[in-house]
């Protein structure tokens, strides 16, 4: 049995047994701590740093997203913080975090964006002041998904204000139960919301919880972007709706649905290429940005197609619609991606 078949069999069984109900946008809004633990117990979290690599993770995540499985609780840890800790973390940080991530017990939220900063990550104002044996963090983060129930946070903060704004940034990992951390949900168009504000009021972070090198945060975080942008979740957020659309489609819809099938085939191959390059030690920023731009467009086009095919359940369309404004936000807006891709295109011809 291939790896893909193994995954599929297990995921199918879980679905049949009612372990989860398929839904669109499951990687962001399908939050289920038990399900994450189940995956952890199966050994399926942390493949990339446990000797399996990105291609195996690619197959696993494709199948989980296809099924609309609730993978949000461990997603950030598995996708980008785990790999960063494994690569850059101190021995103590690794020992303290990786087993918990792998078990689905350690759940990360991202503290990158700040109020008024938007896509301009370099304008971070959260300060880290030196203190005995570590740092004191002071500031506010926003658009941090599931922060109110995360166990840990990744935080980008300014450790020096003397240089150009791209310098003097440092990456930290902190325990959400530390004194001084407050997380508050932001109600959104779906209700209570996954988005949170996080307030940091002199939160102590020990030296061993600095990720990588002090002051090198900007270079490190932009390197992470390929991990953040280049995964199948940039294409498959609305796959459960596409599956319903395919089931409902008749001959009159064949052209419309067929266009999506053709495009998806190429997009998935592109995702596989990105994973293979990551396995080769590259950080393929250009291809990852291309995948995200085209993938986000695909996710929205699925909704438009579903609307036109009679018999697709309205609730599934609406669920995807309400998620849709978020697709292009996470990990860089379309405008930012356009610049990254154009730069690659011009580099490619220079």
């Amino acid at each position: 049995m291939t790896w893909r078949e193994q995954v599929r069999e297990q995921v199918d069984a879980w679905r049949r047994d009612g372990v989860f109900t398929p839904r669109s946008d499951s990687w962001l809004t399908g939050y289920d701590e038990d399900f994450s633990r189940r995956l952890g117990a199966r050994g399926w979290i942390g493949l990339t740093w446990r000797g399996r690599g990105f291609l195996d993770r690619f197959v696993l995540t494709e199948e989980l997203l296809r099924a609309g499985a609730p993978v949000a609780a461990h997603w950030i840890a598995d996708r980008q913080i785990g790999p960063a800790v494994a690569r850059l973390g101190s021995a103590k940080l690794k020992a303290g975090l990786l087993p918990g991530i792998e078990a689905g017990e350690v759940r990360f939220c991202l503290g990158m964006s700040e109020p008024d900063a938007g896509s301009d990550l370099a304008s971070v104002r959260t300060r880290a002041r030196r203190t005995d044996g570590g740092w004191l963090l002071e500031g506010q983060k926003v658009w941090s998904s599931h922060a109110h129930r995360a166990t840990h946070a990744y935080v980008l903060a300014r450790t020096s204000t003397e240089e150009h704004k791209h310098q003097g940034l440092t990456e930290f990992v902190l325990d959400m139960t530390s004194p001084g951390v407050t997380a508050r949900q932001i109600p959104d168009l779906r209700g209570p919301g996954h988005f949170c504000e996080v307030f940091l009021d002199d939160v102590f972070v020990p030296d061993w919880a600095v990720l990588g090198t002090v002051g090198d945060g900007w270079r490190q975080v932009t390197g992470q972007l390929a991990f953040e942008r280049g995964g199948p979740e940039r294409v498959l957020s609305t796959y459960p709706l596409l599956a319903l659309t395919m089931a409902a489609a008749g001959p009159a819809d064949a052209g419309r649905v067929g266009e999506l099938v053709a495009r998806l085939t190429a997009l998935r191959r592109l995702g596989k290429q990105v994973a293979a390059r990551m396995d080769g030690g590259e950080a393929p920023i250009g291809p990852a940005a291309t995948l995200k731009m085209l993938g986000n467009r695909f996710e929205v086009d699925v909704i438009e197609a579903a609307r036109a095919v009679p018999g697709v359940p309205r609730a599934a369309i609406d669920e995807a619609l309400l998620a849709s404004p978020g697709f292009s936000l996470r990990g860089g807006t379309t405008e930012v991606l356009g610049v990254v891709i154009a730069r690659e295109a011009m580099g490619a011809v220079a």
């Binding site: 291939t2 790896w3 893909r4 197959v59 494709e62 296809r66 596409l242 599956a243 395919m246 089931a247 489609a249 001959p251 819809d253 064949a254 052209g255 419309r256 649905v257 067929g258 266009e259 099938v261 053709a262 495009r263 998806l264 085939t265 190429a266 997009l267 998935r268 191959r269 592109l270 596989k272 290429q273 291809p287 291309t290 731009m293 085209l294 405008e335 991606l337 356009g338 610049v339 990254v340 891709i341 154009a342 690659e344 295109a345 011009m346 490619a348 011809v349 220079a350």
Partner: protein, 257 residues
């Protein structure tokens, strides 16, 4: 000759062709159609991917050749007509010949699949040629006192052309990895056809008036993209994928693992 040599030679020699008849003659004379045919059958050896590489290189240079048709001679159903690409008779918008048959059955089977893959390669090459010309133009052409690539609206267009070209190439790679699977070939060709239309439009948009001139030569790429995407392109192919069902469609995209 090694493969890059063949690609380079093909572009060079075909670039000197005086017309389409000449291009067809050169292609035959050079024996490139023997690439991808086993040596035991009198061929040059190599894989279908090797042939596709040569086809791409030729197209990327804005040139025409019946290499795909020599490899996989086909009769196609195009917009209710029965057509032989590179047969004698009419000319498409790029000046390439095709014949219209009074009657006849369109090809099926492995030959058709191979042709689809190689025709997709033709489109992918054209996309890459037009997209990279577009990026190069935007990087060097100045307006309002700076390179036009510095205008976000222009850089979005450059990104679009590049992205479409990358997507079409990924579709082709999937087809080449599983060359016996007609549905992957169909998906690759449908995607490349759509990409061709977008790239041609965007390339002209970025180039402005100069892009329309014969002298610049962009139109050698774009007219070909317009011709190729309808031979037969997405309108004929996509419906074939639309009713596969979720299971089969998903397996297509999983590829050759």
């Amino acid at each position: 000759m090694s493969l890059p040599d063949v690609e380079e030679a093909a572009v060079k020699v075909l670039g000197a062709a005086v017309d389409m008849r000449d291009a067809a003659r050169i292609t035959l004379d050079q024996g490139w159609h023997l690439l991808g045919v086993p040596e035991s059958e009198g061929g040059m050896g190599g894989t279908l991917a090797d042939v596709a590489g040569v086809v791409r290189a030729i197209s990327a240079a804005g040139l025409s050749s019946p290499l795909p048709e020599l490899h996989a001679p086909v009769v196609l159903a195009v917009a209710n007509r029965v057509v032989v690409p590179w047969g004698d008779g009419e000319e498409n918008i790029a000046g390439e010949p095709y014949a219209v048959l009074a009657s006849g059955s369109p090809s099926t089977g492995a030959t058709l699949t191979r042709w689809r893959i190689l025709h997709a390669a033709r489109l992918v090459g054209g996309c890459q040629g037009a997209a990279s010309r577009t990026a190069a133009y935007a990087a060097t052409r100045a307006q309002f006192g700076r390179p036009i690539a510095r205008f976000q609206a222009v850089s979005a267009l450059v990104a679009e052309a590049h992205a479409q070209s990358v997507l079409a190439a990924a579709g082709l790679e999937a087809a080449l990895a599983d060359p016996g699977n007609d549905f992957v070939a169909i998906a690759a060709l449908a995607t490349a056809s759509r990409a061709g239309g977008v790239v041609a439009r965007v390339a002209h948009q970025v180039h402005g008036a100069i892009g329309i001139t014969r002298e610049l030569g962009l139109e050698r790429l774009t007219r070909r993209l317009w011709a190729w995407r309808d031979l037969p392109g997405e309108a004929e192919l996509e419906p074939l994928l639309g009713l596969l069902g979720e299971q089969r469609a998903w397996t297509l995209g999983a590829g050759d693992e």
